[in-house]
Amino acid sequence: MENIRIIPRLDIKGTNVVKGIFTEGLRVVGNPKELAFKYYKDGADELLCMDIVASLYQRNFDFDLLRSVSEEIFIPITVGGGIRSVNDINNALRAGADKVAINTYGIKKPKFLNEAVKKFGSQCIVLSVEAKHRNDGTWEAYTDGGREHTGINAVEWIRKALVLGVGEVVITSIDRDGSRKGYDTELISEVSKFCKVPLVVHGGAGTKESVVKVIKKTKIDAVAIATSFHYGDFKIKNLKEYLFKKKINVRV
């Protein structure tokens, strides 16, 4: 097994890092620059920064904020939220991002994903998917920070986006987000069966054991964690030691 990457996720609203439950009930948890630096020092393998209201308010990611966040950080940073043009991607890269995550605009205009891949390479373009369980046993893709229905089958959408050339997939389970109830391994298994690019999973980590479970039960490349790191359930270092003990490869 290759190394599993541990990725703290920072949901940003305005000038704060926030976190909610089921993408709602947001609470301020800290300052983006300080938290990002803390996680970098704690041994994060990457950072994922998402402006969770940019798409909803049809704004851009705050690139000045991103510049200040990335200033003293020397690990890869993925940035998402409101990305809807080649220019946005250029601005994100110039402000210190290495990859951009695209959800809302990719669903509205799938061709944009392909255009972005051609211009920046697949390694730079990450598909972000927010999936919510439906009564018929499938999952629906949501946009605008988990607020808007699309009617689109999330798993089928990922299949399609892979053909368009995206180089990585981040999948968030809206049902588990912020709940600490463990990952939606059913959803993740479904996707990991055919996903030939790195798969990052998010939503539901509550204990170190829940992280072990998703890694052992499905075939993933990275876990993105917000709540458990922000509220100190466990530290990155402790999680890595725990995974290592369970014979899961991590960078130590």
């Binding site: 290759e2 190394n3 020397f74 890869p76 210190g96 290495d98 390694q123 030939k196």
Partner: protein, 218 residues
């Protein structure tokens, strides 16, 4: 430290990749870091950095379109330090085989080929942290890998690998999907890293510091 501290390092902008994090990392250790894209500017530099993410062809096209090919080769012939990163390292070799066959800068003899024979189910591109191990056939010159510990982790994003003809040019190797490949190539003062030191945390910063020290000592 011998040598003057008024040294100038230039990052070549040939239209591919993210120069900003690289500049940021270099500036941790040296003030005069500029982004260059014409031959006159290159002439005034003490060291060159070739960054880049993207395809071999796009990279060489970007260099040729700016008329920089000859200048970069001359820079190497004079024995001035060059640091190639990722695609920038690949372009140092003679030929690349990504989407066809293309001529490289040919500063180090060898070719750039797709990862061969990986274990089943191993994903390409190779993205993530992996170890670099000092090659047996050589020992580091100029202390570029000073103080980074044994087999440290660094960050990779690539689908193609460096294959120098002279095995002595292989400074470090890395194993991915059961396949051992060259992760650092070196010839004199020319270094090529397949990984991204500017994204490799403290280890990567130390490598960049070592390179800057080598430039300052000249």
């Amino acid at each position: 430290m011998s040598g003057s501290n008024n040294k100038k390092i230039g990052i070549v902008d040939y239209g591919v990749g993210n120069l900003y994090s690289l500049r940021k990392a270099l500036r941790e250790f040296i003030d005069d870091v500029v982004i260059v894209e014409n031959t006159e500017e290159i002439n005034r530099l003490d060291a060159l950095v070739l960054p880049g993410v993207g395809s071999f062809e796009a990279g060489m096209e970007g260099i040729k379109a700016r008329g920089l090919e000859g200048e970069i080769k001359k820079f190497a012939e004079k024995g001035k330090p060059i640091l190639g990163i990722c695609l920038g390292a690949q372009l140092l070799l003679s030929k690349g085989y990504e989407f066809g066959e293309f001529r490289g800068l040919d500063i180090i003899s060898g070719k750039v080929v797709k990862f061969p024979g990986l274990k089943m189910g191993i994903k390409i591109p190779h993205i993530g942290w992996n170890k670099i191990t000092l090659s047996n056939s050589t020992k580091p010159e100029g202390d570029i890998l000073n103080s980074i510990g044994k087999d440290p982790y660094v960050y990779f994003v690539h689908s193609y690998i460096l294959e120098p003809i002279d095995k002595k040019a292989i400074l470090t190797t890395t194993i991915y999907g059961g396949y051992q490949f060259c992760s650092t190539v070196q010839k004199g003062n020319v270094y090529g890293f397949q990984f991204h030191p500017e994204k490799s945390g403290q280890v990567g910063l130390r490598i960049i510091k070592n390179f800057v020290n080598l430039v300052k000592a000249l």
